[in-house]
Amino acid sequence: MVQYQSAQLDAAFAALADATRRGVLERLGRADASITDLAEKFDMTLTGMKKHVGVLEHAGLVVTEKVGRVRTCKLGPRRLQEVTDWIEKYRQLWEARFDELDAVVEELKQKEKAK
């Protein structure tokens, strides 16, 4: 289970490394869309967009469903949230640390000036 989750997380990080794919997620966060819609919005070929959606789908970030001839994409359950939670917690710890380090640096600078 843990291994399954970490493999999914890896796939998610790889998926998020691309600006177009992040844009697609943002878009799908607002409304579901077909691959054709997405290709148009991002000014890409249908084949190119299919590849991006495939990567997002593999990572569990997006699910697709084919109704008739149209493949509709929507956000996958919780996935993006899990990825961002992980990074966000880590970032918050370092940011809190570094904010306090800012204060120490400022104080040392003042002391040096006063010398």
Partner: protein, 155 residues
């Protein structure tokens, strides 16, 4: 003004944190390498942790040991390791040994126009070790939540 803290997962085994500080490199280096300064910022108040003691023997092969207490943990706990590389105003490398073969932390310092860019790279022995470390980080977030629950119940 406060600068941005950037975090990215560079690979399966590495995370990278980047931040610029508004001061020359010798000052930033001092804040990382003098225990009385280091302990003022390394443990942010929001972490819910209290630093009980901080020892840093900053030289190659020297050891460090940080002892913490958390209100939800019955016993204090320690983080410790060894400095592998100490190049003043440039590079500081240490191991994290509290969990057996843990990650290696490399901090690089670079002065650019009177400011200092700090890059912290954490290299884990394996992808699983990195995932586990972050899962336990989430667990410490839970400790904080327990604190808040205690406060709520006491009110």
């Amino acid at each position: 003004m406060k600068n941005e803290t950037k975090v990215e997962r560079k690979s399966d085994r590495e995370t990278v944190i980047t931040r610029t500080f508004n001061g020359p490199v010798h000052i930033v280096w001092e804040a990382w390498t003098k225990p009385e300064l280091f302990q003022r910022w390394w443990v942010p108040k929001s972490s819910g942790l209290t630093l009980v003691s901080c020892e840093q023997d900053i030289r190659v092969g020297g050891k460090y040991k940080l002892v913490f207490r958390h209100s939800a943990a019955p016993e204090p706990f320690a983080f410790f390791g060894t400095y592998k590389e100490v190049t003043p105003n440039t590079r500081l490398v240490w191991t994290n040994e509290e969990n057996g073969g843990g990650q290696v932390t490399t901090v690089t310092f670079e002065e650019i126009a009177g400011k200092t860019k700090v890059v912290v790279l954490e290299l884990y022995p394996s992808k699983e070790a990195l995932d586990e470390a972050h899962a336990s980080g989430a667990a410490s977030g839970m400790l904080e939540s327990f604190d808040q629950l205690e406060e709520f119940l006491a009110a």
